[in-house]
Amino acid sequence: MSEATEAYPAAAADPAKAERGQRSLWGDVWRQFRRHRGGMAGAILFLAIVLAVFVGPSLHDVDSQALNVREKNQGVSLLHPMGTDNLGRDMLARILAGGRISLAVGVTAMLLSLFVGSVVGVLAGFVRWLEGPLLRLTDLFLALPLLPLLLVTIMLFRDTLRAMLGPETGIFLLIVFVIGITSWMQTARVVRGAVLSVKEQDFVLAARAIGTRERRIVTRHILPNVLSPIMVSATLGIATAIITESALSFLGLGFPSDFPTWGRLLYDGVNYVQINPSRVIWPGLAISLTVLSINYVGDALRDALDPRLRGR
């Protein structure tokens, strides 16, 4: 008998559901996910973006840092399909190069913040004696002023990390860590709220009554039911991470200034909105489409993991 049915012992008596027991939980999830049109579209779009930023540079073979002052602020042309910036750098090459960094930073930082936020939220909601300390910790992080925190972090760790891992990897880790560690609080609060309401519901009581272990109750019953606020946080989190990265690089905490990232391209382009609108449209669109695709994937994932919907 698979794990999926073990959680619902009553279902085993039902022959129709017993037959489903032959399939694995994740197989079910995947089948459900595939039937979700928005989810599939989102997944395809996201994969296309990932593919574009990783394979694109070999098709559009222009150095994102090569500049040519004589060709600054140009519009769309064959040579520069998205125009050039005020130093004559090719915008398409910069969007592609920037996408690699932004996606990596956005996704990793979002996962980190999601992980920390969910763990704190579930523990605070489920383990009585941890609730107080964890909530105080959340309050502390919410209250910390971000900018001085960043300045201190960079002062303490940048040179060490740069020496250990080189300028790029070191800074990447630093940025992901900083963004992750300063953005999990919202998720934690929301997850805790959801856990509080779920844990009093009948099926949790039922599970407890038949002697299910606490850890199993959390992973099997609580987590799937609080997935929707987590998914919302994830979508919002990736956008925040991409934008926060641009703020960091502006403060000198991020990547060196000639490293393009989507957030940074958008920030630098704002004042050129009247001269060369493509400087804001493309990075803005890139960020929006990424966030949109992740949102749809999140929607579909939530539907697919929802035991009530999966049965249908």
Binding site: A66, L87, M155, G252, P256, D258, N271, Q274, I275
Partner: protein, 568 residues
């Protein structure tokens, strides 16, 4: 670019023509809106030396003499400028005697006397006051009132240039009656006085909101009964430079916007809206790259970036420094980042005119081939990755500067130029408050210089560069022992230069001083210790209906606000 220059030229003619037009009455031109993108925090320049605060205060309180737009000292509250010729400056160059204009009144109606001037000196020279303009009073022994309209300043050493105290908007006169209870440690507690100083200037404060807005009205006691033309002024602050320019040039909500370091094509497009114009003035500010002669490698530990830690692995080679300078296309940097607000320069002292050397003008033309040849001859050979190396030392630089979009543009350009001569560059930008701050705990200050080269704009107060040039004396090197205080970031130390510093202090004749200053400039630039890039002007925008603006880089930009008028 051409169009912008044409517009500027046109604006200049308008200004000249309109300067002759006389206006009859005080307050007849209504309201004036001024926008500073950094808001005024306090109206007491002795407690905040920021330009925004000094400029704001210059509408209210005045010095004895100001600098005009050409850098000449002109009387404000003084009747005339004391010189050795008219006997105002003593023969031994150790004292200066100022005569004050008769019948001056503070805005509260009480008479202005020499005692106010003496009090101002006491206020700033108090050891516990933390006066931010204390440098203006360097070497002052005593300030005394000879009579109600005469002030004598005595120095402890010979002062060939005695125009430090009471000259320029950084050193205005405050009212004794108002500030009497605010000496020394009490100074910061006098909020009411610091926010609403009583002055002699064209305007008086009606309401002050720190870091936000100042409201002013015409001073009823101002010495010229026909001025100022504006009845009320709003000095609003906040935001960023580009949007400040937009509020004057495109929407026309404001009449004047200060310090617009914005990429030239953006300003050009805003000027095209036809509501306003740009005004520039060139003072002593020069954007330069300085090289680190000591070794900034982290491996040096506590001796990092000190002379004791050993010489820099490759920047001590004169050929490398020379090549760095030759490879730079200064014209391109100006075009991309500065437009009319910058000129390519090869001098540390680019203004005033008499100090500007011509010995280094070779640098105005980019010479990649020459730089490559120089490095080849010096034995720096290109490796397989295109980066030159000699004896295992790669020409790889860490290039740091303060955060600012124009500077990051310049960094990208310079990196590209240096890559053409086989130099590898890593860019770093640091928040300005950290970079220029003196926190000894921070690794990112300009003084610690934990990088190979760094770039910023430096300048000096007034028109006399003596103190400025003494920055590169051996004794000025920042070290852990002196808590990194010192201005000689390069860790440059030469007996030849130190002798010139001593010579300068003894020279009184202006032409001879200029000659010495040029020689010092040529040592620093010729040896590649300083790589000058851009002679930077201040640039502001003002509405086409605002007349009488005489852009000034030597003093407050608002120095002649009393003469501003509205075109009818």
């Amino acid at each position: 670019m051409k169009r912008l220059i044409a517009i500027l030229a046109q604006a200049a003619t308008i200004a000249v023509v309109s300067a002759g037009a006389a206006h009859a009455d005080r307050g007849s031109d209504g309201h004036l809106n001024i926008l500073y993108w950094q808001a005024v925090s306090i109206l007491n320049p002795f407690l905040s030396g920021g330009n925004k605060d000094v400029h704001g205060a210059s509408l209210v309180i005045e010095p004895l003499a100001s600098y005009d737009e050409a850098g000449n000292i002109v009387p404000a509250l003084a009747a005339e400028i004391p010189t050795p010729a008219n006997g105002g400056v003593a023969k031994d160059l150790k004292s200066i005697t100022w005569k004050i204009k008769p019948d001056l009144k503070w805005s509260d109606g009480t008479p202005f006397t020499a005692h106010d001037v003496v009090f101002t000196a006491q206020y700033c020279m108090h050891p516990d006051g933390g006066c931010q303009q204390a440098a203006k009073f360097t070497d002052v022994e005593k300030v005394e009132a000879v009579d109600d309209l005469t002030v004598k300043v005595t120095f402890s050493v010979t002062k060939p240039f005695p125009y430090g105290p009471f000259v320029g908007s950084e050193s205005p006169i405050i009212q004794k009656a108002q500030f009497q209870g605010c000496l020394g440690p009490k100074a910061p507690e006098c909020t009411e006085q610091n926010f609403h100083p009583i002055g002699t200037g064209p305007f008086a404060v009606t309401e002050f909101r720190a870091n936000d807005v100042v409201s002013l009205k015409a001073n009823p006691q101002y010495r010229d009964p026909a001025k100022p033309a504006f009845a009320t002024v709003t000095l609003k602050g906040g935001g960023d430079a580009a949007s400040a320019a937009r509020a004057v040039l495109e929407t026309g909500e404001f009449d004047y916007a200060w310090s617009l370091l914005v990429e030239p094509e953006i300003l050009e497009q805003m000027v095209a809206a036809g509501r306003g114009t740009l005004a520039t003035a060139f003072g002593p500010s020069v954007e330069y790259i300085e090289v680190n002669l000591s070794d900034p490698s982290p491996a040096k530990g506590a001796l990092r970036s000190t002379r004791e830690g050993g010489p820099h692995p490759f920047l001590t080679d004169p050929a490398v420094r020379r090549a760095l300078s030759m490879a730079i296309d200064r014209q391109a940097i100006v075009e991309v980042g500065y437009g009319p607000a910058g000129k390519p320069t090869c001098n540390l002292l680019s203004a005033p005119e008499i100090y500007a050397s011509t010995a280094n003008d070779w640098c105005l033309k980019q010479d990649i081939d020459g730089a490559n040849r120089l490095l080849d001859e010096a034995g720096w050979v290109r490796g397989s990755d295109g980066v030159r190396a000699k004896d295992g030392v790669r020409l790889s630089l860490l290039y740091q500067t303060a955060t600012n979009s124009v500077r990051q543009g310049t960094q990208a350009l310079v990196k590209d130029m240096w890559s053409q001569i086989g130099m590898e560059t890593e860019l770093r930008n640091v928040d300005a408050a950290v970079f220029f701050g003196g926190d000894p705990g921070s690794p990112d200050t300009a003084h610690k210089f934990y990088a190979d080269v760094q770039m910023y704009t430096n300048n000096f107060p007034g028109t006399d560069p003596e103190r400025y040039l003494s920055y590169w004396h051996c004794d000025e090197i920042p070290t852990p022992a002196n808590n990194w205080l010192g201005n000689n970031m390069q860790r440059f130390c030469s007996d030849e230069y130190d002798a010139l510093v001593a010579e300068m202090a003894q020279t009184a004749d202006l032409a001879a001083r200029a000659e010495t200053a040029k020689r010092m400039n040529d040592v620093l630039v010729g040896q590649g210790i300083i790589i000058p890039l851009v002679h930077r002007g201040s640039m502001s925008a003002h509405s086409l209906t605002l007349e009488g603006v005489r852009m000034n880089a030597w003093d407050s930009e608002l120095w002649n606000a009393a003469d501003w008028t509205r075109r009818k």
